[in-house]
């Protein structure tokens, strides 16, 4: 029930967003596919940063255990904050690339 409600509501707001884009902002409908592609690239970049962060964190934990002999919990990698931090990194990186590409094209 909860899942159906959430899916239905986000479906409705997506239709609302499409309507606002086409009727009020006069956005070309052909650009929607490319925009979804860009969204997927951004999500992908966030996941790449997440994977790199988690692998590095685990390596540092194991290295710290091996070198110091002290116990460091591997559960440090089991935290939602990694996803938030990786989102900030991934989105900033993608925007940086996008702005650089626009600047280069304009020269």
């Amino acid at each position: 029930m909860e899942a159906t409600f959430m899916a239905a509501l986000t479906g409705l707001t997506s239709i609302g967003g499409y309507y606002v884009g086409v009727k009020l902002l006069h956005l070309p409908t052909v650009g929607l596919g490319a925009a979804i592609g860009k969204m997927l690239e951004s999500v992908g970049m966030v996941l790449i940063f997440l994977a790199v962060n988690l692998v590095l964190a685990l390596m540092i934990v194991l290295l710290a255990r091996g070198v110091t002999g002290a116990f460091v919990s591997a559960y440090v990698t089991d935290d939602s904050v990694w996803l938030g931090l990786s989102a900030i990194q991934g989105l900033a990186f993608q925007w940086w690339r996008g702005i650089a590409a626009t600047s280069t094209a304009g020269e």
Binding site: A3, L40, E41, S73, A74
Partner: protein, 206 residues
């Protein structure tokens, strides 16, 4: 170079978005949990061993810790073993998980002399080693091992290596999660346990 990075990122993004939607809005995580779960074998044993989960610095048991504790207490009250072993260290110097669990067990009628606690354990591997020390003197050979189903795949071989005959007693309710958030949480637990199992395999612990 740029377009190749974009293509790879787009593919990973597509997998991520589809994975997120399928996990949140279908029973995939529940099915995976059922498919990978070790079936319960609730038979009379020498001891019930409840593995640690997490306790807050103030001594409040996490929901997973409480679920395992309650299951261990229920097994004891069914008369399946004369000894209840409760494990778990402390967070930031606060009360230990094992002591908080022992208090719960006493409140539910388990006699103090039937409870054994171990507070100096931090990993499943350490738990197996300490339980071996604790139970060896009592001549215990068979144990009912209480933890979540995903964790049992890693914990069971460790305790078998420690010399016990292990009967799995998963603490999961195996009731299908109804909210997208709980489905995502279950998938997170399954992924975490998979990597934990993989690490123990690669390291040669199991």
């Amino acid at each position: 170079m740029g377009s190749r990075v974009d293509r790879v990122a787009r593919l990973i993004g597509l997998i991520g978005v589809v994975g997120f939607l399928v996990t949140a809005f279908t029973p995939l995580a529940h099915r995976l949990n059922l498919a990978t779960a070790v079936p319960a074998e609730l038979v009379p044993s020498d001891a019930i061993v409840v593995l640690g989960a997490w306790v807050s610095p103030s001594g409040t048991l996490s929901s997973e810790s409480l679920r395992r504790t309650n299951h261990g207490i229920a097994l004891y009250r069914r008369g399946l073993a004369p000894t209840l072993v409760l494990l778990g260290g402390s967070a930031s110097g606060g009360p230990s998980e094992a002591d908080a669990r022992a208090e719960q067990a006493r409140l539910h009628g388990v006699p103090a002399q039937a409870i054994l606690t171990e507070t100096r354990v931090r990993t499943t591997r350490e738990e197996a080693a300490r339980v071996k020390e604790l139970l060896q003197s009592k001549g215990a050979r068979t144990i009912l091992l209480v933890t979540n189903a995903g964790h049992l795949a890693r914990a069971r071989p460790l305790f078998e290596r420690a010399g016990f005959h292990v009967y799995p007693a998963p603490s999961d309710s195996f009731v299908e999660a109804s909210s997208p958030e709980s489905r995502l949480e279950l998938m997170r637990v399954l992924v975490r346990e998979f990597f934990g199992w993989l690490f123990y395999r690669v390291a040669g612990y199991i």
